[in-house]
Each structure stands twice: as structure tokens, then as C-alpha cells.
Symmetry: D2
Subunit: 223 residues, 4 copies
């Protein structure tokens, strides 16, 4: 994963059903091209293949299930997202929390399949625990700040700093990101200063009146 | 829903990741056109928008979550599948069983949104229970026969018959289908004779050497 | 189940860990003896055998899992609650919602084992759906009123009335109770007038300064 | 936790409903007294208070939910098991797998409340991950060997050894146990030789014709 990185998660918002996801993915692509910042887009689950095949932007799934391909109606396998064109997946988002054994399964299988994993964590101790599994990246997101507009990098800098420290103690291969409440370039700048290599965000972009303006501002925090 | 109907569920098989789903959806389209039988295709979740926009065939989601659009990473809303081009969704498949309150939520919201629901049930009493919610259709599938190659319509005709009876007692608007082990035209014919208006199947088509041949045979059971 | 009935659910409140459960179960027993009203007590799960063996009061489990006895660490089987001395169990409480197939399993197994089931429902359509499974009783509890102190029988009488109607249409063997916000004799009186045969409540008794006074008042609504 | 230790999990077996749990807990007590080996008994959930108050043996819950005491019907809080007389709890058994954030919650709260936690893990990487949370103990149990009669300490000694190593690398405060397939003194002896400080077992004792004989043999592997 090229860092610094901005990951935009379109969640299940009404603003990001098919036409919204298409518009937002294209905006991410434009801003990535204009600024040189790596931007990853995680569209709604049912739009993944469509967006990944229509827009030249790195795509992630928002979630995968801990299964091998098979007789699993309604489940999403790592193989299905890879064939759909995704480069990786979010794992254990606080809105889709996972069993420890399933996080381990997915992180481990994804490595074998050359897929990237960004595992979300809610605090420093869970960050340490996930670091031992060595995913591609960990995104620290205190759940109480998600969607709040209060940036974790300013409201709880100590959680971000201690998470960076905790991860580096266990594995220096794991990238640390942060999320929750991020919506401005200065939030991103602060996140980078605290030792992270990027941010994960959703409503700040998806629900913005002018998502391109917001993304350009966010990217400016990196440059 | 135009009946008799054949619903093909591509599950999470390795044979039905993106290129497989595309090939199978096209075969369904051809057979529907050649025979006049209504065939619905339920692709893998991440392929839904792609298949629905690429192939002129009625598409279903394999599962939706009981949510309104919003801050739900990794979840699938009814709105997202509608915008992706689906006409409806499978609900409560035995491989993705659901809370009774969530089945109620989805069946009720889907009606408001002009989406169809096919709720799967595992026995006669659950069939009765679901009938009271008045989904578009109920698909009776004894779980022990799923993927077995032993057709429910032949192995357990009494479950199919009693389910038809149970549903009609509660609501004559609800369509009854059956599934599990169906792979041949004669299985479909028997299912129709028992009072159903179609079948739900997966491996019989998806894992077939010649899916078109199988679908033509299945359709012959209706004609 | 002898009706009218008052079911007291001690949930997982700090007031009802072992010594609290013991005190409350004894108060229920006293009030039942003094008033002749049938009172059932559902202690915390880990206290079930202890309370059922120590206090001469009909006891219920708050929840059981849809399993046969076996290799299921941390699960609760119908057999284990029967041997512990319970007469039955709550099922599908809004705080422990269940799969439709599991509700069916438990209601059906409980009948074979002479155990009673009180299945909670959140609205009229789910009430109809559960009625088709013919549990001993259904307790209608709009989740938004649970613990609110606003009695369902006064705030949403139409839900109670329509639930009674819906159940009677499907099976006249199923008892209808209501819950949520019940804390006074007049709430119980109103519930009975709306066609129910009793109430299910928790915080109104468990968190009361004087639980005996509250229970005597509740019983007076029946007498 | 005094080590070496033998933890007997009574699961949800028909052999360990109330009278069985009582008999087995008493046998554990006798063997502990006769041999001096620390034996912990984890009765069925609904029997916990009853057994802990009737038999002078250290008791564990088989599972607790990640909640604070409150309005949680059918849930088990750490406070409820403490008041019931338990010294601790099993966590994340493969038959009751848990979210990583819930394991973290329970391990952390239990420490504050002076309760012990034995977290089960299915492989070496999950063992490392859990070690970072610093529970009282970790019990490595490859799920495929549970109930098999094939002892992990003999069939997969490398998993046990590597788990001991992985834990010690992260924290030397965490006790390592192993489980799955253990039924004889020689299995325990081998487990201790591999660096563990005890075993977790269930069917080997609960389903034995002569549980006392089995426990005496198990204890002999330690002495």
C-alpha cells in the first residue's frame, strides 16, 4: 500500500448507492491524479465489481466474510472481491465487528492471495492485539468519534500516538492509520504528525456538499 | 413475480466469481428467451450492480440487511440493491438465517419500495410463520437436502405439499416455491404438481458441466 | 400457565445479582401467596438453579439456546433449565432477539418437554408470525417503550388490541401478554381490559425502592 | 491462579445438568483434596450459583457477555458471575467464539474486578494476538481435536510449543494451558513438558464412566 493514503468508505449511505458511488469514485480518481496522493475507495458492497471495473481507482471491499468460496449464500469471499477488482478490504470496522478467529483467517488468507487488509481497532489494547496478526494496516477509530465531526487526531491524540507506539513495538511492517471525525486537511496533517501514514474516513467526504473540495483539502494535509 | 419461475442462486462458489456470474447470467437470459420461462439470477453480492447493469435478466440480491441507508459499513440496504438494479432479494436462506424481527422489517420495507422478497424456510411450521408476514414468495428448503442432489420434491413431497397448504390457509397472495436438491426437469415438474409455482436452486446449475443444458432441462419441467 | 399472570424479568441489572435475585424472588412469592395472583420470576441466567431450588416460586429462564444437550460451551439447553427447576423460558426478548428457525426449534422442543414458552414480539406483524408457531404465550413489547416508564397499555393500546386480535385469528390456544413501561396496577388493569391475560415487566419491580409495594399495586390491577 | 491446574468444562452435556454438575463438582473437590492439584470446575451456565454455593471448589463461568450490568435480558455479566461465586470465566471457547473487542472488554474489566480469564485460542497467531491483551491464561485448543480423544499435546505438540513461545515473547505474566482431546495422565504430563501449566478438558471427564478414576489419572500426570 502506497502511503500516505486516504481511504474513503462509502458505507451504506443513501448518498452512495450506485450513482453516488460512481460519482464519488470518479472524484477520488481526479483528486488522486491532481495531487499524487494515494486515495482508495471502498464502495457499497453490491457496487464493488461495478465501480472497480468502471473507474480507474484502487478499490477496497468494506467487509469480507471468513469463508473459502463455497455454498455460502449472501456471503462475500476474498476470492469474490479479488475477481471483482478490489485490491483489499476493510476488516472489523466498528459497524461490522468480527470474531478474533475470523480476523486472523482473513488477514492470513489475504496475504496468500496478495490482497491488502486494513483492520479497524477501537482502542490501544485491541490495536496491540491486531498488530500481532500483522495485517497490511491498522486503522485506529474510537467508535464514539465516528461520524462526530470531532477529529480523533485532535480530540484523542494520545490514542493515536500510543497506537503507533504499540504497533511498532510488535511489528514494524504494519502501517498505522487513524479515523473517526476526520474531515479537514489540518486533521490529516495532525494525524501524520502523530506518526500515522494516513486516514480512513466516510461521512466527511460522502455527505459533503462538495466532496471534491473536501478531498483536495484533505490531500493538502499530506502534501 | 411472473410464475412459474426458476431462481438461480450463485452463492459464493468459486465458479461464480465475476466472470462466472457473467457467463451464468447470460445463459439464464438465453434460456429465458428461448423457452419463455421466467428465470431470476442472484449473483454474488459484490457482483450485483455489475451483472444487473450488464445482462438483461431479472436479478435478485442473495441477502439484504435490516437497515435503512446510513452509517453501516459492510451492510447492504434495500435501497442499495434497488439502485444496483435488483428486483428483489432472497431472505433468510438457511446459510444466512435471520432474526424474525429483521425478516419482518425487510418484507415490510420491500413492499413499500416495490421490491420482491423470497423468504426461505426450513420446515412447515416456519413456513406458516413466514406466511403471516406476506412476502412475495416463500421457498421451502429442508437444509439437509441443500446441495445433496436429492430433490425435495421427490424425497420429501409431504413437506412441499403441507407448506403449500399452510401458506394458502394464511394468505393466498403468497407464492410458494421449493428448493434443495433440484437439478432436473422432472424435479421441477414434480414441484409444480405439488402446488408450487417454481424452484430455487444453486449447485445444480452453477456447478454443472453444461449449465445451459441443465437450465433447458429444468425449464422443460415447466413447459 | 395459570392466568392472569405477572412475569418479573430480573435482566442483568446490578440490583439482581445473586442476593438481589434471592430477595426479589422471595418478595414475588409473598405477594403471590398474599394475593393469589400467579407471579413468575425470571432470575439472572447464572442464578436460575439456585433461585428455583431455594424459593418456592415458578421460575423461568430469560433465554435458552436452540440446541440439544451436547458439546456447546456457554450455551443453555432446554434440558438444563428443566433440571435446574424452571417451568419455562422467555424467548426472543428484544434484548436477545432470535432467528425465526431457532424460535421454532425452541417452541416445538419445549412442548415435547412440557416446558412453557413466552415469546416476545415487537409489533403486530411479528405477533401474527409467532402465533403460527403456537407458543404458550406471546408478550407484545414495543422496544422503544421498554424501561421507559411509559406503559404500552396506555401509550399504544392499539398495538395491544391488534395483537390480541391477530393472535386469536391464528390460534385461540395462545395466551397474549404485554410489556414495556408497565409499573402500576392501573397499567395492568388497562392491559387486561385490552384483552391480554397478564404482563411482563422488569425495571418497574427490580429497580423499585420498595418492590413489594410495587408488586402489590400491580396485582391489584388484576384483582 | 495456582498452577499446575486442571480445568473441567461441563459444557451443555446431558450428563452435566444439575444433578450431574453437582456430582462432578464434588468429584473434582475430592480429587483436588486427595492430590493437592488445583482443579477448577466450570458448570453449566444456569447451575453456576448453585454449584459455587454448594461445593467447595473453585468455579468458573463457561462464558460471559461483554456488558456492564443493566437492561440485558438473557445476558451474563462479570458482576453476576462474581456474586454467584465464580472466580473467573472461560472466554472465546471455539464453541462460543467472540469479537476481538469483546474479549478485550472482558479481559480488561475482569482484571479490575479481580476475576480470572482463560481465553481459548485456535492456533498460534490467535494465541499471539490474545497474549497482547494479557489475560490470566490462554488455553490453546485446535478445534478439530476437541472431543476427538486425540490429545493435542501428542498430536500437535508443535502448536503447543509455539504457543508457549509466542506468549512468552509478548508477556511472561500470561499462563499457557492447552486443551482438546486430553483424557489421560500421560497427555497432561506431555502438556506440562511442552511448557504449559495445565489443561482444559470436558468430555474426557464429563462423559467418562468413572470420572473420579479419570481425574486421578489426569492429576497423576502433574505429580
Amino acid at each position: 500500500m502506497k502511503t500516505p493514503v486516504i481511504i474513503v468508505n462509502s458505507k451504506a449511505y443513501k448518498e452512495s448507492t450506485l450513482s453516488g458511488d460512481l460519482k464519488l469514485a470518479n472524484i477520488c480518481k481526479e483528486v488522486a491524479e491532481e495531487t499524487g496522493v494515494n486515495i482508495i475507495y471502498a464502495p457499497q458492497q453490491v457496487n464493488l465489481a461495478y465501480i472497480a471495473k468502471s473507474v480507474n481507482i484502487p478499490c477496497f471491499a468494506q467487509h469480507v466474510d471468513a469463508i473459502n468460496p463455497g455454498s455460502y449464500t449472501g456471503h462475500v469471499s476474498l476470492l469474490s472481491i479479488k475477481e471483482a477488482g478490489a485490491l483489499g478490504t476493510l476488516v472489523n470496522h466498528s459497524e461490522k465487528p468480527m470474531l478474533i478467529k475470523d480476523i486472523d483467517f482473513i488477514v492470513s488468507k489475504a496475504k496468500e492471495m496478495d490482497l491488502e487488509t486494513v483492520v479497524c481497532t477501537n482502542n490501544v489494547s485491541v490495536t496491540s492485539s491486531v498488530a500481532a496478526l500483522e495485517p497490511t494496516a491498522i486503522a485506529v477509530e474510537p467508535p464514539e468519534l465516528i461520524g462526530s465531526g470531532i477529529p480523533v487526531s485532535k480530540a484523542k491524540p494520545e490514542i493515536v500516538e500510543k497506537s503507533v507506539e504499540a504497533v511498532k513495538k510488535i511489528s514494524d511492517k504494519v502501517i498505522v492509520l487513524c479515523g473517526a471525525g476526520i474531515s479537514k486537511g489540518e486533521d490529516v496533517k495532525k494525524a501524520i504528525e502523530l506518526g500515522t501514514e494516513g486516514v480512513l474516513l466516510a461521512s466527511g467526504v460522502v455527505k459533503a456538499k462538495n466532496p471534491k473540495e473536501v478531498l483536495l483539502d484533505l490531500a493538502s494535509g499530506i502534501l
